[in-house]
Each structure stands twice: as structure tokens, then as C-alpha cells.
């Protein structure tokens, strides 16, 4: 019954803040940078040549420091911000070309959004907030309440439907924000630093809730964060933004193992690699290497983290292990040496200068 995700494709997207922006796109396309554009012409380069393809049903994380253009980027997907140039295709339809009526219909049915500072209606109860997207659509009251009540329970707020937002903690308020978004059953879920305002423990809780729900709802989630740990935990794919440009995109494994430049490498240094890297990224695939005895050692799932693999190998007293897929078929071999060297952060000189 629930509607699974829609694909999003962003093509050559540019955003320049300030008047007469179209004129300055040319300069930017010819290579003018953010600092120069600002100093010489007083325009702010928000986004530069963004190209991202987000398959339906996955979690796309966009990561970057404050001011890198994350909020600007996510607001182009439901066109809360109009681009200066470029296309935003949702299931093949260009959002940029929609007229006012089409855009409103698109926002009502195709996208839902969760905000950093919750943005709840203070004069409405939890239930009143959760029904908002459905109410705007003109759904009958009874149906609104039914759907909203279901989601309020799913996000763990059973019994709080009649409270007002100011009676709830930050974590609970964001659950309301999440329930409001999910109640619309829109295929696209936009989350702009949705968990950044929360305490670390509550934040991890919310991440778990999101991952748990996502297994079932399979929305296309666009998740903004400035925190690499959060990005690695949630993202099927990650794009890293700096000064309005994407400087690397790929899976979390790609980014940790092969940071594109020194800037990203510096972030990656802080990561607990044992808990992030997966066996599948480090193993030597079956059929290559000609191992002497592919049947020796314990069996380890390819989706296990290196830390888990290390535990199992140590327990078994083995220096090597067989890697298996979900159906227990052998897919490769893993050696203790490979695990250990992957877990150690490479020295800076290895990656610097990229």
C-alpha cells in the first residue's frame, strides 16, 4: 500500500544568490570561484555544477560543513529555492519547469520534508501537526486521523497525540516531524540536518528508527548532515559538498578507503574504520589469487564489519577466513593482515596532495 521511492536526477545545477544571477552563471561556468564571485561582484555562489543521480528507494546522504550549500541543494528538490540553471528530474519530470499549480500538487503528493529545527506548529497538538500534509491535500478528517495515529505510534509517541510541541523534548518533537513526513506517504523524504539539533544518544536512536522504518517503506531519502559518522551509518550513497561543489560521491566504503583528496582524508581520519568498513570491501574475491585452501578458517558474512570479523577470527584462532554471502555461498577470502592494514588509518602523506 505504501508508495516506494521515486528516482531523483540532478543535472548541471547552478545556484547564484543575488540579482541578475543568470548573467553570472556564465562567469562561473568559465571557471570563476566562489571567493572571486563574491569579492568582485557581490554575488554568493550557492551551488556549482551539481550532478547527482539518486536511485529510487535508497538513502542519499549529502555531507558538508556549515555553509557548503547543503540546505540550498536539498531545497532545490522540492523547489523551495529556484535554481539559476540546471534540471531536477523526479521520475523523469523536471521540477524546475513546473508551474505554480503543478509544483503545489508535486509537493503535496511526491515529497515530504523534515527540518533541523522541527518547524512544528506550536498551536497544534502532536496529532494536529501530524495530519498537516494530509489536511492540505483535502483528505477527509477521519482518514487523516487514522493515518496520523498509525504513524504517531510507529515513531514511538503512542499516548502523546494530545500534547503540544512545547511539552515535548527535542527528540520527541523531531519524532513528530518524522511522523508528519511519513504520514503523507510521499515517495521522497527530504531531511535537512534532521537529527543535528539532538543530543548524541537521542540522535543515534533516531538514526536507528529511520533505518528500521526504511527497511519497510523504501522511500528515496535525501539526508543532509555535517557529521561523517552519521553519513556513514545512514547513507547508501554519500555526496560530499564543499563551497557549493561536489568533491566526491560514492558509497561510504569508497569514501573511507579512497578519499578523493586531502580535505576528505582529514575527515575520514576521525572515523572508526573497524566499525565502518565491511568485509566485502577488504576481502580478496573468490576465483582470484589462487588461495591454497579456500575451505579453511571460520565463515564470515560479507556484510560484517572488520571489527566483527576480527572478533570471529580471534575466537577461532585463525589467521584467515572464508567470506560468505547471504545464502552461505563462498564469495572470497579474508586474511588477518588485510583486516589489520585496512583498520589502520593511512598516514597522511599517502593521501595528501589528492
Amino acid at each position: 500500500m505504501a508508495e516506494a521511492g521515486a528516482s531523483i536526477e540532478i543535472k548541471s545545477l547552478y545556484k547564484i544568490f543575488g540579482s541578475d544571477a543568470a548573467h553570472y552563471v556564465k562567469l562561473v561556468k568559465e571557471g570563476m570561484g566562489k571567493a572571486e564571485l563574491n569579492q568582485r561582484h557581490g554575488r554568493v555562489l550557492g551551488l556549482k555544477d551539481i550532478n547527482i543521480s539518486m536511485p529510487a528507494g535508497g538513502i542519499q546522504v549529502v555531507m558538508g560543513l556549515s555553509g557548503s550549500g547543503k540546505s540550498t541543494l536539498i531545497r532545490h528538490i522540492n523547489r523551495l529555492i529556484d535554481p539559476t540553471a540546471g534540471e531536477v528530474l523526479v521520475d523523469g519530470t523536471d521540477v524546475v519547469k513546473m508551474n505554480e499549480g503543478e509544483l503545489r500538487a508535486f509537493r503535496r503528493s511526491r515529497t515530504a520534508m523534515v527540518f533541523q529545527r522541527f518547524a512544528l506548529l506550536p498551536h497544534r497538538t502532536v496529532l494536529g501537526n501530524t495530519v498537516y500534509g494530509l489536511e492540505v491535500r483535502g483528505m477527509p478528517r477521519a482518514q487523516q486521523n487514522e493515518a496520523a495515529t498509525r504513524w504517531i505510534e510507529r515513531v514511538g509517541l503512542k499516548g502523546f497525540a494530545d500534547r503540544y510541541p512545547n511539552q515535548l523534548s527535542g527528540g520527541m518533537q523531531q519524532r513528530v516531524g518524522l511522523a508528519r513526513a511519513l504520514a503523507t506517504d510521499a515517495p521522497i523524504l527530504l531531511m535537512d540536518e534532521a537529527f543535528s539539533a539532538l543530543d548524541p544518544l537521542i540522535r543515534t536512536d533516531m538514526q536507528s528508527i529511520l533505518l528500521e522504518l526504511q527497511k519497510e517503506i523504501r522511500k528515496t531519502v535525501v539526508f543532509i548532515t555535517h557529521d561523517l559518522d552519521e553519513a556513514l551509518r545512514l547513507g547508501d550513497r554519500i555526496a560530499i559538498l564543499r563551497d557549493g561543489e561536489i568533491i566526491q560521491q560514492g558509497t561510504g566504503q569508497d569514501i573511507v578507503l579512497k578519499p578523493a583528496n586531502g580535505y576528505i582524508a582529514k575527515f575520514v581520519q576521525e572515523v572508526n574504520r573497524g566499525r565502518v568498513l565491511l568485509v566485502s570491501s577488504v576481502m580478496s574475491p573468490a576465483g582470484r589469487g589462487g588461495e591454497s585452501d579456500p575451505a579453511s578458517g571460520p565463515a564470515i558474512a560479507e556484510t560484517a564489519t572488520l571489527e566483527e570479523a576480527l572478533q570471529q577470527m580471534t575466537q577461532a584462532g585463525a589467521r584467515a577466513a572464508r567470506v560468505t554471502d547471504a545464502k552461505d555461498r563462498p564469495v572470497g577470502r579474508l586474511t588477518m593482515d588485510a583486516v589489520v592494514s585496512a583498520m589502520v588509518t593511512p598516514v597522511e602523506s599517502d593521501v595528501a596532495g589528492g
Binding site: 523551495l80 500538487a105 509537493r107 506548529l121 500534509g133 527535542g170 527530504l190
Partner: protein
Amino acid sequence: MHWLSTFPHLNDDFLRMLKKSIDSGFRDFTRAYGDPIESFFSPLQYFLIHSERFLTNTPWPIILLLIAAIAWLGSRDWKVVLSTVATLVVIGLFDMWDDTMKTISMIFVSTVLSVVIGIPIGIAMSRSDRLRNAINPVLDVMQTMPSFVYLIPVVMLLGIGKVPGLIAVVVYAIPPVIRLTDLGIRLVDKDVLEAADAYGSSSWQKLKNVQMPLALPTIMAGINQTIMMALAMVVIAAMIGVEGLGQPVLKAIANQYFTLGVFNGLAIVGIAIIFDRVSQAFGRRLQKHREIIHG
């Protein structure tokens, strides 16, 4: 050196002509359009008369109960209700019940009218800076012009009576509703407004679900000020025939009846305090859900 001691003014004859021609022009206008204008305002007349008749003809215990009930609904505070009842009882004992009812009726009608006209204007102003810049100076003039002055054209057009009095009161009292509606809407949290946009709200839905509810406490403060200004206008409006507590005050000034003046003056103060406490308590209750209890 004559031109130094008195300011060189325009020719006396010219000024006399100017005033005369404006006045006679206005008089002609009145003669030509007075009747249609009067009939245009006749619904107000109807509203005024019925509201006054209701308050003065209904047996006083019912009115007292009704006002107490309104005070309770507005404030949910027994102290406010008790002092309201006490004030009205004292007013009644001093034989000012009828005049007080007439004044309350006038304030009620002029407040309703100010709200009905003022809120849409305030909303329009909040949407357009151009309009705001055009209307603000007009509001400044309305508030600073001595109130006696605009009694004159109103009286010329509509004569003496309730309706001209009502119009004079509304003109004087409406600016706060307009200004604070505009301000309240402009101060609405941008994040919440963005959320409403993100879920595809139309501009009417945004107004109804977000802007008006969040601006309501500010608008209530404006209505409170409007009520107070309308009360302040009661004595002046009495000069053009508005009945109520203003009339005895005028009589007291003319005849130097000190006590009569003080009693009626205190009655005006009494109902001002009632209106103020009830509407402020109501405003505070509207704010209740905005206080931050959790961080």
C-alpha cells in the same frame, strides 16, 4: 522690518477664499451625496441600535451574568470575574447602569467594526511593502490628528447621532489593529512557514493554518489597544450625540458638577479595566502553547 516680526503669510483674501471654496465644495458634495452615504451606513445604524437595545432592555441580572460568563471564558480566572461583577454592581448602585450599557454597546460595535476592517487591511499590508509604505503615514495622521478635527467632516456628512459617532471612534481606534496584524504576520517564524510551503500549502492555507494562528497573540494586543482608544474617544464622541457615559461628563463640564463628572469618569475607568484585564488574559492564554518548556 515688519516681515521679521510676523511671518510673511499668504494674502488674507486668498486664504479666506481657499477655506471658503473648500468648505462650500464639501457642502455641495454633502448635499448631493449625503443621502446615499447615509443609506450606505444604515446597516451600522441597525447594528448599533439593536446592540444597544439588547443591553439596555434585557433585565440587568441576565446582562450581569452574561458579562461574567464572557469574562470567565476570556480569562479563566475567578479574580477577574469577581472584580468585573463588583465593578458593574458598584456602577449600578450609583445609577449609571443604563449609560454604562450604552457605552459598552458602542465600544462593542466599534471594536467589531475595527477588527472586521482592520485585520484584512493588516493582512494586505503584511504582503506588500509598497502598500505598507502607503498606509503607514495615513495611520500616523489618523492617530496624531486631534480627534475633534475629524468630527467636523463626519458631522457635515452624516449630521449628529450614533453613526457619525461610531465612525469617528473607529477612525481614531483602528490603527493599532491594522499595525499589529501587519507586524504579527511579519514576525511569524520563517521555518514554520517554510514547512507549510514544503507540504504544498496554498496561500490561503498558509494564512489560515500558520500566519493567523501564530500572529494571533500580537493581533490580540492590537485589539486590546483599539478597545482602550475607543473608550478614550467616548467623551469626545458624546459631543456629536453618542449617548452613554460621555454625556454626563459633558454636562458636568458645562455646569461644573464635580461629583457627577468624577462618578462617570470612574465608571469609564472601571469598564476600561474590565475590558483590559479580560482581553489581556485571553491574549496570554493564546500564548500558552508558545512558551518553551523543553529545550
